[in-house]
Amino acid sequence: MTGEDPTILGRYRLLQKAGGLAAPLLTAAMAFLVGGLVIIATTHKAPWGVYRGIFNGAGLNWVLPWISAADRTNAGYNLQQTLLVTTALILTGLAVSFAFRCGLFNIGGQGQYIVGSVFAVWIGSSLAGLQPAAHIVLAVVVATVAGAVWAGIAGLLRATVGAHEVITTIMLNWTAVWVASALLGQGGPLQGKGGADNPISSAVAEGAKLPVIWGDPLLQGLSIGIFFALVALVVYSLVTNRTTLGFGIRAVGKSNEAARYSGIDVARSTVIAMAISGAFAGLAGALDILGWQFRLSVGDVQASQIGFIGIAVALLGRNSAVGVGLAALLFGALVTGTSTRNLDPSVFRPDLASNLTILIQGLVVLFVGADVVVLVVLGRLRRRRA
């Protein structure tokens, strides 16, 4: 991204070889630092206290050995929620990363996630009495395919008429939001039959709920969904680095022309890359519905940010599987730790904090784009130490 400058690129490569973690870590640190300045400027509170409140709200204090047993139980609940959000963020992060490898910027993760959620709740709440395993598989597969198709529209438009995927995916996002709102809203076909006036779907059947591996199934315990996400990370890594398909996609991402000359079908790669991206996001929607949400409301659809945060996850994780996993954990903790349920309101107002999450996310994207800045800061730090 920093382009053709040999010295900067050279140093960047060196940095990645020597300790690739340094740049992302510093990027995140800078984003939190600026976020802290905003906290000081607006509320005159010590950002350290706010960040610690978020840390505890996310349940990350569970790993600390010295907290009391009661605190640990509570932290366990919080950490389970953090990991649930991490699960979704890994997948929406991969949705962005995979397209990036093909040189495409998929901002449509949000819409693909919504489409996946809608199909998951539709399959999950109908067809009661189906074999549980079959029900889960069916719902997951249908939602994943739906996400793939939704993203595939943008891929197809890019490949055939050259419509920029940033604009088309944004439009698909808003289309998904409003169509889902109509389906789930008053009188919509997916609105639950029980609560007469609530714009919310029926709950998914018991058999379609994912088994919980840690915690209480009634208190949003951690489901097996996280294994889906971890497997997806491995699949992502293998497909991009070890298969012909992945090679073609990366070649197209590096240079359309060169790929075309070497006989790669650029249009086909573009559509497939977008479709696979969308499949990841659609899967995220399915796991959230079957794993802990169980219902989908118009409010959920309109307020959800999971797909958008995936952009920051992918950028901070530098499109590597390990990086995406770690970045998803960071943002999963931020989202959970700033939620109304988990953040102690005496520490900081949760509705402020959730906006702080978006701001920090924006700063991460800003700083990730500017490797140069990070490198300059790093260089100065080193010089000072020397």
């Binding site: 382009g3 050259g162 439009m171 808003w174 409003w178 389906l183 958008f308 700063l363 784009g369 500017a370």
Partner: protein
């Protein structure tokens, strides 16, 4: 060639007809009529495409899809409401109101892209203008100062983007998305911090211009008699920008920098200064559009209230082939579809499903159709998206 042109022309006309028959005074009630006519329009377009007239052929196909969908939607609305919805003059006035923010942002995007910088951050700059506009109007008690503060805030965000994309040569798409997120987070944060649960208070809003001399003229008076000040400013900006772009040295320099920066620098044009100026101007214009939304149109602020309008403006810009009048025409088209969707929505209830909610998707779907239908024909500035390095 002549026959293909005739086919394309009749296709476009049929597309318009598909929408027309479903509206008063004809008000056909069966959706099949507009569908049939729209198929005819698309067919004529395809014939023209086959015959080699790609530009008009695509336009005819797009007109068929566009007119057909509008026509089908209109048949959903109940008859007595159609008259209320479709007082044509009221509809056109609403079109101008909805098009105003798009016009500002699209003209801003035009300047930026013509100088070679893709400004995906228009959306965020609009949102910034919307929030700081209403904040300024609230604190100073004056809409003019509020507008100014909004514009300055949008310019400041654009300056940051300019530094990132021009000096640091960051990928412009990623930098622009960063602007969108930062604007979303920052305005949301400040909105909750300052206004909390109460929402924004009543403010001095940007006034409408009442042209009383138009009142006696039946149609024109209804459309143009009572428009917002900024709507007139936006409409006035289009020819001004067109003249600046194509008839002045400044415009020539701007276009040169966007097409071939190396050559421009060789003849003594400062590429960096030109691009900085263009990007900051684009941010200020987008912010003016955002401020119009908050203090000229709805008189309040909500988190993420721009709702993708910055991106629609970007699509309008591409649809309009990076030309002022083309972009303005596309903005009016999108404004019209939004106005129609909003006004139809108020009056419709069809079967169980809430049609009004579904209608909210219409502007986005039409943008998608428009982008897909015409984009292959539009030619962006040659150097757009590539950072410039001095030698």
């Amino acid at each position: 060639m002549k026959r293909s042109r005739a086919f394309a022309g009749s296709g476009i006309a049929l597309g318009a007809l598909a929408a027309w028959v479903a509206l008063p005074p004809f008000a056909v009630r069966s959706p099949f009529v507009p569908i049939l006519i729209a198929v005819g329009a698309a067919g004529a377009g395809i014939v023209a495409l086959r015959a080699g007239d790609r530009r008009r052929g695509r336009l005819a196909v797009a007109a068929g899809v566009f007119g057909g969908s509008l026509g089908i939607l209109a048949t959903f609305s109940s008859l007595e409401h159609l008259d209320a919805v479709l007082g044509w003059s009221a509809l056109l006035a609403a079109m101008l109101r909805y098009a105003t923010p798009l016009l500002f942002a699209a003209i801003g995007g035009l300047l930026s892209e013509r100088s070679g910088v893709v400004n995906i951050g228009l959306e965020g700059m609009m949102l910034t203008g919307a929030f700081f506009g209403i904040l300024g109007a609230d604190k100073t008690g004056s809409w003019a100062l509020g507008l100014l503060i909004g514009i300055v805030a949008g310019g400041a965000l654009a300056l940051l983007f300019a530094f990132w994309s021009i000096h640091l040569r960051v990928d412009q798409i990623i930098g622009g998305m960063a602007m969108n997120f930062i604007a979303l987070g920052l305005t949301g944060y400040l909105f909750v911090d300052i206004y909390g649960d109460q929402g924004t208070p009543d403010i001095a809003s940007i006034p409408d211009v009442h042209l009383s001399f138009l009142d006696p003229i039946p149609f024109v008076g209804d459309v143009f008699g009572q428009l917002n000040l900024l709507t007139w400013v936006a409409l006035g900006l289009v020819p001004v920008i067109a003249v600046v772009l194509y008839r002045t040295p400044v415009g020539l320099r701007l276009r040169a920098v966007g097409e071939f920066p190396r050559a421009a620098e060789t003849v003594g044009i400062d590429v960096f200064v030109t691009r900085y100026a263009a990007v900051v101007a684009s941010g200020m214009l987008a912010a003016a559009g955002g401020a119009y939304l908050s203090i000229g149109f709805v008189d309040s602020f909500n988190q993420n209230m721009t709702a993708g309008r910055g991106f629609i403006a970007l699509a309008a810009l591409i649809f309009g082939n990076w030309r002022p009048f083309g972009a303005a025409g596309a903005c009016l088209l999108f404004g019209f579809s939004t106005a129609l969707a909003q006004r139809l929505a108020v009056y419709s209830q069809h079967g169980g499903i809430q049609i009004d909610v579904l209608f909210q998707a219409l502007p986005y779907v039409l943008t998608l159709v428009a982008v897909a239908g015409v984009i292959g024909r539009s030619i962006p500035p040659a150097a757009v998206g590539t950072p410039y390095r001095r030698q």
